[in-house]
């Protein structure tokens, strides 16, 4: 079974700070990580490989330091990594086109796995776009999958219902965070990952004349102005003060 996992390096949103004067988020210097749900996709790929054998390739469009992150996925169990740099200007159209061309260049694949969305921008566009460009079925929001020799079934979390879908290969699957618990690699695996290849593929070798269809205009902060009145002394008094305040706010009717 040949499996391709698309993984994105993202800022750790829980570490983001807001500039106190402009109220805009500060993007520089925020720690980077592999988007959480992409790790779930990786874990699922390993489970499928354990059952059917084959090869797992990690595919990333990202900055040069994403190599360090790809190593984490190699340590988890991927066989090979491919890193494509971000072009000067990009949007989902550009990135999904690059990933698609890379997948075509890899050639043989049965399953493409992605997270349902990346945790920084949470658009969820890449999975469906790749499936559309490759002209293959898509099974999104998978919360469990069962890969058999010539077909795969998945339970999809659709909020108010669960939909069980089956597909032949090749297929693109996006997973939710609930599907599994990504493993932590052992020290041996981390050391072993150093010997696994990470190939650099250039943008030019995949596509030319790529232009975004969407232009970023600006990034604005969202001021969260709250009263921050915190009662911390005697519990009975705190409760009384809180109830009085809520009554004044007019929410106790």
């Amino acid at each position: 079974m040949n499996i391709i996992v698309c993984a994105k390096q993202v800022v750790d949103v829980s570490e983001m700070k807001v500039d106190s004067s402009t109220k805009k988020p500060i993007l520089q210097g925020v720690p980077q990580k592999i988007s959480d749900i992409d790790k779930n996709a990786m874990e699922e790929a390993i489970k499928i490989k354990d059952k059917h054998g084959g090869k797992i390739t990690v595919l990333t469009v990202g900055p040069a330091d994403a190599k360090e992150r790809i190593k984490e996925l190699l340590a988890m169990g991927a066989d090979e990594g491919i890193l494509i740099p971000y072009p000067d200007k990009y949007d989902y159209h550009v990135v999904s086109t690059l990933l698609t061309e890379a997948i075509k260049k890899i050639g043989e694949y049965d399953i493409i796995l992605c997270g349902e969305a990346s945790i920084d921008l949470f658009s969820g566009q890449i999975g469906p776009r790749l499936a559309g460009l490759l002209g293959i079925p898509q099974i999104t929001y998978a919360q469990s999958v069962n890969a058999e020799k010539d077909k795969i079934t998945a339970d999809r979390n659709m909020g108010d219902k669960s939909v069980t879908t089956e597909s032949t290969y090749p297929v693109l699957i996006t997973v939710t965070k609930e599907i599994n618990e990504p493993r932590l690699p052992s020290l041996m695996q981390i050391l072993g990952a150093a010997n696994k290849p990470i190939n650099d593929w250039t943008v030019e070798s995949l596509a030319d004349g790529l232009n975004p269809k969407i232009d970023a205009v600006e990034l604005n902060g969202i001021p969260m102005e709250r009263k921050n009145i915190i009662y911390k002394d005697n519990v009975d008094e705190s409760v009384k003060n809180l109830v009085d305040s809520l009554a004044k706010e007019g929410v106790l009717r």
Binding site: M16, T164, E166, S167, I214, G221, M224, K227, Y231
Partner: protein, 318 residues
């Protein structure tokens, strides 16, 4: 032409409101798409709420599949020459829109919380970085596809005098290689946190499933009677059904009063409740992040505070 599609009627009505505003500005017509069987009552309703035309794509497709709906919409967009396409951002719409955009080689912005023309370009706003920022973006080519979550726009008042055509067309769609085996409705208690006026939420600060009675009791005496929860309570512990789950990957809520007990206030939880009117936090850790997002807070043990709070509210409300 501006085209609107969702398989959710309510969401379609909301989008027709924004769609008619955009169409007016462009001097173009507004079309609502219905997929499946013709439904005269539905078409009438869409017209009364702003549609100049209802395009009924008649097919024998039984259940939604992104592959097949993409093909249909691709044909409809080509046939109508629609340049601006609004798609409802429910789970179906969110996997449909990007696939459709890829087939049309075009741009797509998901979950828009605002949509307007600036310098003659369609401009979108959406919340990113888990609620830390709003990204403002602009389309530079057409067709342009935007998805709209529910409750962002209010539907137009019903106007029975507004007229429009109903166009029907049969479509044969190439069947996808995927197959739906089973559709199972999730167990539901009919809780709707998104419409609730008051929500009392619990998090991992609760030690046992039975202790959720403490938030039930408080919610019971507050108008609204709705219980919410953080992700671990629904997803990992499964003490409450998904319909209670609030946050980035759960429901987005905006009640008048939101009480969070035993919830640490991680950004992904805040993303779901930040638009609440008054926010109250109860947490034993004075450093808990939740206090930064709260109007009022009590530092202490929820097991002591909640019963007392319930009593005090009962007394106050008489």
């Amino acid at each position: 032409m501006v085209l609107v599609f969702s398989d959710d009627k309510k969401l379609t009505l909301e989008m027709l409101s924004k769609g008619s505003e955009l169409a007016k500005e462009l001097g173009k017509k507004l079309t609502a798409v219905v997929i499946g069987k013709n439904d005269d009552a539905l078409a009438k309703e869409y017209i009364a709420h702003g549609a100049d035309k209802v395009f009924v794509a008649e097919t024998d497709i039984e259940s939604f599949k992104a592959e097949e709906y993409t093909e249909l919409l691709e044909s409809i967009i080509k046939e109508t020459g629609a340049e601006t396409v609004l798609i409802g951002s429910n789970k179906n719409g969110k996997e449909l829109a990007p696939r459709l955009a890829s087939r049309l080689n075009t741009g797509c912005v998901t979950d828009c919380t605002n949509l307007y023309f600036k310098d003659k370009k369609l401009t979108t706003e959406r919340i990113v970085y888990s609620g830390n920022a709003i990204a403002v973006e602009q389309f530079n080519s057409k067709p342009q596809i935007a998805t709209i979550p529910s409750k962002v726009f209010d539907p137009l008042p019903k106007d029975d005098k507004h007229t429009g055509d109903v166009v029907k067309k049969k479509f044969d769609v190439e069947k996808s290689a995927s197959k739906i085996l089973k559709i199972q409705e999730m167990k539901s208690e009919g809780v709707n946190v998104e419409d609730a006026e008051i929500i009392v939420s619990c998090g991992r600060g609760f030690k046992n499933k039975d202790d959720i009675k403490l938030v039930d009791d408080l919610a019971e005496i507050l108008k609204g009677r709705t219980v919410g929860c953080s992700r671990p309570i629904a997803a990992d512990l499964k003490w409450l059904a998904e319909e209670h789950w609030i946050g980035l990957s759960g429901h987005k809520v905006k009640p008048k009063l939101y009480i969070a007990a035993g919830i640490s206030g991680q950004i992904q939880h805040i993303a779901g409740m930040r638009d609440s009117g008054v926010i109250v936090a109860i947490n034993k850790d004075p450093e808990a992040l939740i206090f930064k997002s709260a109007d009022y807070g009590i530092v202490g043990d929820l097991y002591e505070i909640l019963p007392k709070l319930t009593n005090a509210v009962k007394e106050k409300m008489g």
